[in-house]
């Protein structure tokens, strides 16, 4: 097909682990150096491919966590119990190891400067990963758009990127974050402590009149709930972009 020829192939590239960051007990950020990487937009993902000695292969998708940065691609992976790929990535990989990946993939769930703002981000669990790439990218621009993040996690300990989020919200008046901790809250916690609902989102997100660009990412149930509430609050369906992670959907 003609378009096919124009776009060229997404080829498998060799990615070398250059850094590992323990985010929470079961989550690590893995930074790869990928010679031949042509850059990405925040929100895009990669496919990774692992090959066993006997030739068996497994592929999975992971969102890109970092802003576009030369040949560097950072993934933040939660080790899913009994998973085939994620525990390998989190527990086995060490600096110097190489795996295969290809990308960037996905051109809809992305934010670019030309889209403007304000930016309303709503994250459940590791759904924060592609939204963090948006935050990191646009905070580095000369005139970042106002950004509000609602982040839902099971507990403070399980919230990824929390130091970076805390620092950003302290230092920048164009960035706000609202947390809700659904299972346990630290002593003296005065934030939300429940699953997202209409009151919570109405109180914590940009109003309809501000016409925010809305990105929702997380497990299917979370995304269904959040997107439905934003519609109920009066936002336009076309202004709500969603990405659903993982098979935990029905």
């Amino acid at each position: 097909m003609e378009r096919t020829a124009l776009r060229g192939r997404l080829t498998w590239l060799e990615a070398e682990v250059v850094q590992l960051v323990q985010e929470t007990a079961r989550v690590k950020t893995i930074v790869f150096r990928v010679p031949g990487w042509t850059g990405h937009l925040p929100g895009q993902h990669v496919d990774i491919r692992l090959t066993a000695e006997d030739g068996y292969q497994a592929q999975r998708s992971y969102s890109i966590a970092n802003a576009n940065n030369n040949e560097h691609v950072a993934l933040t992976v939660e080790a899913v119990e009994n998973g085939e790929v994620s525990p390998y990535l989190v527990d086995e990989l060490v600096a110097g190891d190489r795996i295969e990946l290809r990308g960037p993939i996905g051109g809809y769930f992305v934010w670019e400067p030309s889209l403007g703002g304000p930016l309303q981000l709503i994250a459940g669990g590791s759904g924060l990963v592609p939204l963090m790439a948006m935050i990191r990218s646009q905070m580095s621009y000369a005139s970042p758009v106002r950004t509000n993040l609602v982040a839902s996690a099971r507990s403070w300990e399980e919230l990824i990127y929390r130091d970076e989020l805390e620092k950003l919200s302290r230092e920048r008046d164009d960035f706000d974050v609202v947390y809700t901790l659904t299972r346990s809250q630290p002593h003296g916690w005065n934030g939300y402590g429940r699953r997202i609902d209409k009151d919570l989102l109405a109180a914590s997100t940009f109003a309809v009149e501000e016409a925010p660009l809305i990105f929702v990412c997380g497990p299917t149930g979370f995304v269904e709930t959040a997107a439905a509430i934003m519609l109920e609050l009066g936002h336009q369906p076309g202004g709500i972009k969603t990405e659903r992670f993982g098979p935990s959907g029905g």
Partner: protein, 201 residues
Amino acid sequence: MSLISRGFQRRREVEASPDRVPPGQYVTNDFPVLSAGPTPRISAEEWRFRVTSERGEETTWTWEEFSALPAEAVKVDIHCVTKWSKLDTDWRGVSVDTILKGVGSSAAFATAHSYGGYTTNLPVVDLTGGKAWIAFQYGGQPLAPEHGGPARLLVPHLYFWKSAKWIHRLELRDSDRPGFWESLGYHGYGDPWKEQRYAGD
């Protein structure tokens, strides 16, 4: 030659004979949901299904009219580009052959249009000959909105993004035109057995 991943081993049981699982896919028992935006909710009363021919002629079905068409039970394997496959899924739907019977058309291409604005393109030969359905039941139940209800296209031999949820209109065309994902770097045709995930595969 693929790079060997030090220490990586198969951890999933071999759930099915390999001839049912396309390359790069794994078998899941869940039914994951993938959509680019909020789930549209369309009642049976407001639901309409249209076919427009390459000459602009239009045929419309209400839910009642659509429900009166002969439907069939379909048991098929489905394959999502995000890597999961689900085997022996049970659907009930109206064959696209039945839908197109009264429509005079010699168009080679089709674009499926959904409530919510989603589109996907397919060759007409992939929709006819008992290969595609407008499905309205899954697992013996009315199709849930997040899975595309009231009715979705079901084209199981192509990656599942071709099986447009919330289908609203089938546009028959003389020329091919990329749909939503096809314009965003995904493959124009999407044969899972050839692993045609992205443009150029």
